[in-house]
Structure formats: structure tokens, C-alpha cells
């Protein structure tokens, strides 16, 4: 299944060294190697393929087969910089070739035009670094289209009246509707809202040598065993490998980027699988390690020229972390939905994408989806209504009745960028390699919580309109666990208020680029991967143009 790869020596000065092989890194590897460059991708996790993936909940969820392991890489958490952080699991990300795109739910909404210019439209928000992007939707539109066609997104163009303009339809029809989708669609229309088939990065028909979705029901948190989920692993890395110019080097844990005396990046230092220190040389470095590990790597790479962290003259590396706000309501219906079959989401709506702050009393907006993303064990542990006995006959009876009859409505929304919300290095806690661990500092902006609860009321109304026999809501709470890792090396024109420019080049180091969730200036409305991938396609074009005119080696 894996094509032959070149084996570069660490002393070979390759054209590009990419740190991380996830949503952004995979696409940059594909694009840069296709454009003729010699590329090495260093991925800290293992190289697993479809035959390694499994429905075993213990292996995947308890033993972290696909994800960062809390024992190897412990983390700490605190709400505010005044507190001392306590060790606790603060985040999850995919730690394998393909990164988080291997185990995600695959909701693939584009950002809308407003997401890039919202600061200008609604004005400053006290206590936040709310800003416009240095690019607009039109700059990114061709790249959203590339994601849909080259990575593989199912959907129905024009189905939502709120959708931004697009240059091409989706390459594939939407996935089939689930019972949760039908209940959601009918109820939302009754309430005057505009539900539509969810755009998903899952194949609805065979494409590019990959199988269509077989609706096995193990999507969120699991790797796809048939290659239907459009991960970087199956949709980008394999294309990069086929160029014959790209080497994917798994089990390579980068912990330092080195500069020469002229202040240019010369490559990266990493631990190989045996924990020996290696140095890969490169003409330019692109860090795509995710919104937590990218700032951590820069902070670990502090040197004499950059005592506060590499490319951190702004002091903003790791700051303005956004997680997306969220809340959830659940309903139980008379007849079986069997929503465990299939992918998670089949219907969504965007009527509340831009709420009027004067009307609702807070900033924000979002989208609602109909879903069922519980595994059987996960459902028994957390999918039953409040008040259900936790064991015994009452527990079993409820489990038996509810498993096939339950659906969720998930409310996804904005997070405001607050400077103190951040990833930084824990002063005490170390990982298994002896490196400073990630410390997360996070306290949701009050508007984010208000938004989650406002949307949850709409979700509750929707469940009533759908005829739920029982419903309950899990209110928005201050978050202590991160899944979406956004905004920590933000893009901008001003080197004082941002870390990278619109080409993803760091303001401080000419041949060092960053592209992943850390690049985002605002949070969007909850589904960031599509935008991370569009940014990666665009960054590849920009970096190629700079390289071709000799602007990286000057």
C-alpha cells in the first residue's frame, strides 16, 4: 500500500523540512513535493495504516493508539496566569502520520466571508485581541475548492442560503441522510430555519482509489478502516509519496529548530525512535505541528537571538488560544433511529452564523448539527439522561431502550481571542524525553458561554418540534480540555501584533513558516479543519512562489 520513498540523509540539505504530517503538514508535503521540491516530513507519531485501525474502544480511547499519550506527554492546566497549573490531561490530538485528520469527525464547513473581517464589522471587544485577518474569503475560496476536490468532500452546493460564494460544486453528492438528520431537518424547517446536507470530508462514492463510506459507525476518534474518511494520511501523504521526492519519517519527535549566525533556520533537531538525537538539515522549515505543539516547539527553540522563543519578538507565540465554544442537547424518540450506523452528522444549519449582538446581548454565532457520535461503551458511560441509575436493572433498561433512540444536537460556536488564554511551557512538569510539558491556560470569554447556552435553547426548541419523548441539555461550561487548537501563532500584517504574515512566513525568520490551527486569527464557528487545509494549500502556493524567485535563500 505504501509507495517507495526516498531516504534522505540527515546531512542532505533538503528543500523543505515539514514538522508534522496532519491536516496542514500532509497537504504542504503533497503540494511542495508535487511542485518539484525535496521534502522531509518529521512526524512524532507512528506510521499506521488502514489495517492497523480498529473498533477496539480500549485500544483507541483508553490506550491512546492514535493520540497523544498522557503518560509520555503529560500536560497541565490552569484557568488564569495567576494560578499554578496542576497536572491534568488538557488536550487531545492525533499523534500519528496523518495527525488529527485521521480520527476527526470530518465536518467540513467553509468559513464565511464574515469570519475574516468581523472585527471591522462589529468593532473592538474589550478584553480581547479580536482582529481582522490579513486575507479575505475571496483569497481562500480557490483553496477551499481544492480541498473539496483534491482531498474529498461530500456535500450539496447551494443548499444553504447562508453559504459563501463558491467557484465549483462539490465533487460528490452528500452522504445519505440519517434518522437524526430527518428529525432535525423537519423540525428546523417547522421553526423557520434552513437545514441542509452537512458537508463532510468522507467519500459518498468511490474516488481516487479510495472506497466510499460503508457506514460502520466508528468515526469520531477512530481511524477509517476503508480509507473513506478524507484524512491527510489517505488523501495527501500518499500523493506526496508517489512523487518520489518526499520522505515521511515517523517516530521523529522534533524539539528544536536551529538557526545559523545570520538568523536563518538550518533544520531541526529531533529524537528518533530510539531516542537518539538527530539533526535534519533543510533550506527552509515549515512547522505544522498543531496549535499546541507548534508554539511549544518555538518556545523550546529559544536562543540568544530569541530568548523568549523562536520567532517570538511579538511575545504572542502561544497566546490567543481559541477552542471554539460548544454546548449540546440530547433527545430520545419513540422509534429506533439506529443512529450508530454511519458517520456522525448528516444535517446542519447556519441560521445563527451571525447573531446581532445588540439583540442577543453578546458577541458570537454558530451552527447546529444533528449527530450521534457515541461508541457503545461511551454511550453507556455518558449518553444516558440525568437521573438514570448507574448500574443494575434500571441502568440496563434505559441503555436497552435508549441506545437506538437517542440523538444529539451539537451547538458549535465562536471563541473570542483572549491574550491570557495560551499554551506555554510548564516550569516543572517534563515529558518522557525530559522536555518541558505543555501548560494550558484557559478561561472562556463570558460571551462564548452565553453563546453556547443561547444556541442550546434553540437546540432544545428543535428537539420539542421534532417530537422528542425526553430531552436534556448539557450546558456550556468553562472548558478545561482542548480539541480544537486555534490561534496561538496568529497571522497578521503587523509584526508587533502577530507571529506570521499572510504568506505564513514568521515575521522574524525568513525561511521559517508556520501553518496549522495556530495560524487562525478568529475561531470561525466551530469546524476549523477545512480552513486549516485551505490555508495549507494557499501557503504551499505562496511558499513555492517565494522559493522559485530565490526569496528563501537570500
Amino acid at each position: 500500500m505504501r509507495p517507495e520513498q526516498p531516504k534522505y540523509k540527515t546531512s542532505d540539505e533538503v528543500d523543505f523540512l515539514i514538522v508534522g504530517s496532519g491536516a496542514a503538514g500532509g497537504i504542504l508535503a503533497k503540494e511542495l513535493s508535487t511542485n518539484g521540491f525535496r521534502v522531509v516530513v518529521l512526524e512524532q507519531g507512528p506510521y499506521l495504516t488502514e489495517t492497523d485501525f480498529t473498533h477496539d474502544e480500549v485500544k483507541v480511547l483508553t490506550e491512546d493508539l492514535l493520540t497523544n499519550h498522557p503518560k509520555l506527554q503529560p500536560t497541565s492546566f490552569r484557568k488564569t496566569p495567576e494560578e499554578k497549573a496542576v497536572p491534568q490531561r488538557a488536550l487531545v490530538y492525533g499523534r500519528l502520520v496523518g495527525g488529527t485528520s485521521v480520527h476527526f469527525t470530518a465536518n467540513f464547513w467553509r468559513f464565511h466571508e464574515i469570519d475574516f473581517v468581523e472585527r471591522s464589522k462589529v468593532g473592538a471587544i474589550a478584553g480581547t485581541g479580536f482582529s481582522d485577518w490579513p486575507i479575505i474569503y475571496a483569497d481562500l475560496e480557490p483553496y477551499y475548492t481544492k480541498v473539496e476536490w483534491e482531498i474529498g468532500v461530500s456535500g450539496l452546493a447551494g443548499a444553504s442560503p447562508f453559504d459563501p460564494p463558491r467557484s465549483k460544486p462539490y465533487p460528490m453528492p452528500p452522504l445519505p441522510v440519517k434518522s437524526s438528520g430527518v428529525l432535525f431537518e423537519r423540525a428546523a424547517q417547522k421553526l423557520g430555519w434552513h437545514p441542509f446536507p452537512a458537508p463532510m470530508a468522507i467519500l459518498s462514492e468511490p474516488r481516487a482509489g479510495r472506497s466510499a463510506c460503508v457506514n460502520c459507525g466508528f468515526c469520531l476518534a477512530f481511524g477509517c478502516e476503508v480509507g473513506a474518511k478524507s484524512s491527510s494520511l489517505v488523501a495527501a501523504i500518499r500523493v506526496a509519496e508517489r512523487t518520489g521526492r518526499c520522505e515521511i519519517r515517523p517516530n521523529s519527535y522534533v524539539h528544536r529548530i536551529e538557526l545559523d549566525t545570520a538568523g536563518r533556520a538550518t533544520g531541526a533537531v529531533y529524537f528518533d525512535a530510539e531516542r537518539n538525537v538527530q539533526r535534519q538539515k533543510a533550506k527552509a522549515v515549515v512547522v505544522c505541528a498543531n496549535g499546541a505543539e507548534t508554539p511549544r516547539l518555538l518556545l523550546l527553540s529559544a536562543n540568544r537571538q530569541f530568548p523568549n522563543g523562536l520567532a517570538n519578538s511579538s511575545g504572542l507565540v502561544g497566546k490567543y488560544l481559541m477552542l471554539n465554544s460548544g454546548a449540546m442537547s440530547m433527545g430520545v424518540f419513540e422509534h429506533p433511529l439506529n443512529d450508530y450506523k454511519g458517520f456522525a452528522v448528516s444535517r446542519i444549519f447556519h441560521d445563527f452564523y451571525e447573531l446581532d449582538a445588540h439583540q442577543v446581548g453578546f458577541y458570537g454565532g454558530g451552527g447546529l448539527d444533528a449527530r450521534f457520535d457515541f461508541t457503545p461503551v461511551g454511550f453507556a458511560m455518558g449518553g444516558l439522561p440525568p437521573g438514570t441509575p448507574r448500574w443494575g436493572q434500571g441502568f440496563k433498561d434505559t441503555l436497552r431502550h435508549n441506545f437506538t433512540r437517542t440523538m444529539e444536537i451539537f451547538c458549535h460556536g465562536t471563541s473570542l481571542p483572549v491574550e491570557t488564554n495560551s499554551f506555554s511551557l510548564d516550569p516543572d512538569l517534563k515529558d518522557a524525553w525530559g522536555l518541558p510539558a505543555l501548560r494550558m491556560t484557559y478561561k472562556d470569554h463570558p460571551d462564548d458561554i452565553k453563546l453556547g447556552n443561547w444556541m442550546n435553547l434553540r437546540a432544545s426548541e428543535l428537539l420539542d418540534a421534532a417530537g422528542a419523548q425526553k430531552k436534556w441539555s448539557l450546558p456550556a461550561q468553562e472548558q478545561q480540555f482542548a480539541v480544537h487548537l486555534l490561534g496561538t501563532c496568529r497571522m497578521g500584517q503587523d509584526p508587533k501584533t502577530s507571529v506570521i504574515n499572510a504568506d505564513h512566513r514568521t515575521h522574524d525568520v525568513k525561511n521559517l513558516f508556520l501553518c496549522d490551527g495556530s495560524s487562525l486569527v478568529t475561531s470561525g464557528r466551530g469546524q476549523p479543519t477545512m480552513t486549516i487545509e485551505a490555508l495549507a494549500f494557499r501557503a504551499a502556493d505562496r511558499i513555492t512562489a517565494l522559493a522559485k524567485r530565490g526569496d528563501l535563500s537570500a
Partner: protein, 157 residues
Amino acid sequence: MTARIIPTDDLPGAREAGAVYFIDRALTTFASEDQQTYRNGLPALLGKTEEMFPGVRSFSAATPDQQDQILHSFDESGQTGRRAFRPRGAQTFFETVRTHTIIAFLIDPDSGGNRDGAGWKVIGRERAHSFQPPFGAYDKDYPGWQPAPDRTEKTKT
């Protein structure tokens, strides 16, 4: 104990799913750190049995009703919690056994627990690895996607 956590009725319970055997294996593999919890917990269970029902010589010798009363005295947390992204962090003896029993009952049968798919029979999950629509009662007569009637008039707000 597992048989009281998920009892047998007209459908299989933890006993038929082979939960005890799964837990035995778990304690030498993914749950090896919980061995001490069991080592401390099982004598405590016996002690509680003797304290609550003098003359009953072991937990398994107690009647189902007595067993439930004993387990209630161990279960301090009351009701179902908020959903957790991953089943982890069980601490007390009772909570550990409860978690392991649920895993043993509902894990994918190909993973070494949930003997004969007993747990999935109870919750109504078919055992196939692929499914075709219609999936459930509400999508079976779905006519195909229709836009909301007013959508042509709708503008962005």
C-alpha cells in the same frame, strides 16, 4: 458483582458476556494499574458483606437483593455523569469495577470482550461492519432533500 451491575433478564447480562474473564485479562493488560484497587476492594467487599449481613460468608453467597444493598453502600456517586470524551479516571473500587464491566459488556466483540456480542444484542446494535440506508425509522420514507419553502426570500441577517 458484575452480574449485579448489568443483571441478566430476558436478555443477557454481564455474566453471559463473560465480563469476569474480560476483567481478568484487563488486569494484566490495559488495566494492570488497577490491580491494587481490586486487591484492596475485594476484602472490603467481604468485610461489608459480613458487617451488613452477619452469617453470610461471602458476597457471592448473598442474595441478589442483599448484593445490591452492599453495592449501594460502595457507590457514593449516585447518578450518571456528564459525558466524558474517553472512559478514564475511574478511581474507587466500585467505580473501577463498574467501568470495567461496562467495557466488558459493550466493547466490539472482535476486541476480546462482549462474548457472542451479548451486550450489543441488549442495546440493539447489529454486529455488521457495514450498513446501508435506510438506517432507522425516520429516514426510511425520506423523499430526498427539499429546500425550506421560504429559502428564496431569505437573505443574510
